[in-house]
Symmetry: C2
Subunit: 174 residues, 2 copies
Amino acid sequence: MNWKKIGERLGYDGWRKIKVKTFELPNGREAEFDIISNYSFVTVAAFTQEGEAILIRQYRPGPERELLSFAEGAIDEGEAPETAAHRELLEETGYAAGELIFLKKKNSAYTDQTQYFFLAKNCCFLQPPRPDDSEFLSVEIVTVTSLKALLNDPEEDAFCNVDAAYLAMAYLGV
Amino acid sequence: MNWKKIGERLGYDGWRKIKVKTFELPNGREAEFDIISNYSFVTVAAFTQEGEAILIRQYRPGPERELLSFAEGAIDEGEAPETAAHRELLEETGYAAGELIFLKKKNSAYTDQTQYFFLAKNCCFLQPPRPDDSEFLSVEIVTVTSLKALLNDPEEDAFCNVDAAYLAMAYLGV
């Protein structure tokens, strides 16, 4: 099943970028694919010293409503994923990790971004969140029982980090 | 934390679309956001009558390598998510679901797509896969133990559906 890459051009160059990639497919046909091309990013499933999850509620311009997530953000040019995880956690929640554990990385079909999942254990509140000037967020501390309730409710569609939550809970054995 | 939507225009109109949405932010500043706008989609965590997971290996143009996933695909205009789940499972794997269970839906910050997660239990092999003419895939049947090994390996980055796998295993109690 050999795909042969023929070319690539920038199709859209906004904050988000789209690369249009052309391949010769295994059946000899040529096809173009729109690939979302942005920085790779980190997701930080963070828990307090009391073992409660540190979530963020934010209005989101995609679905035009508030969503609930863990701290998350782009890895800067040349930055290590671990450094980005510490930085995003502190900026978005004001918490510092007692221990940071790399859980997994994940690629997806139509982006060239890698997502890095971390568990931040024994987090300690240091300072008020300092999000950037287009972020307006509120931090919500929830019990593991409440986090599981979010995951177990089929109609609950505000929580974004189903994968990170399960990876973290599996690691913690809770 | 009130965001006021000011306008929306189509920024990119390929197979993938980008809507550029303008908002007045809670601090009075105006900002534009690039929102990925495509059909909502289904992910089908499918298991055979023997309780083994039905995965698909495909070359993917985003990371330009093979990735491993469950059956997944766009919901057609006017199609019910359940119908899309049955259709994608059959097209991509050749299996029919003995029982289809809706597990969860999920939104994300910078897309207007909703992802619907399903569990397909007791799947039965009906016919060879019939993917569309830009899909070239091989079906891989793996034990739950192997699926858990994929999830538990931090450096394993080929498996795309961490969330669907955990949701399905939690439902199945395995």
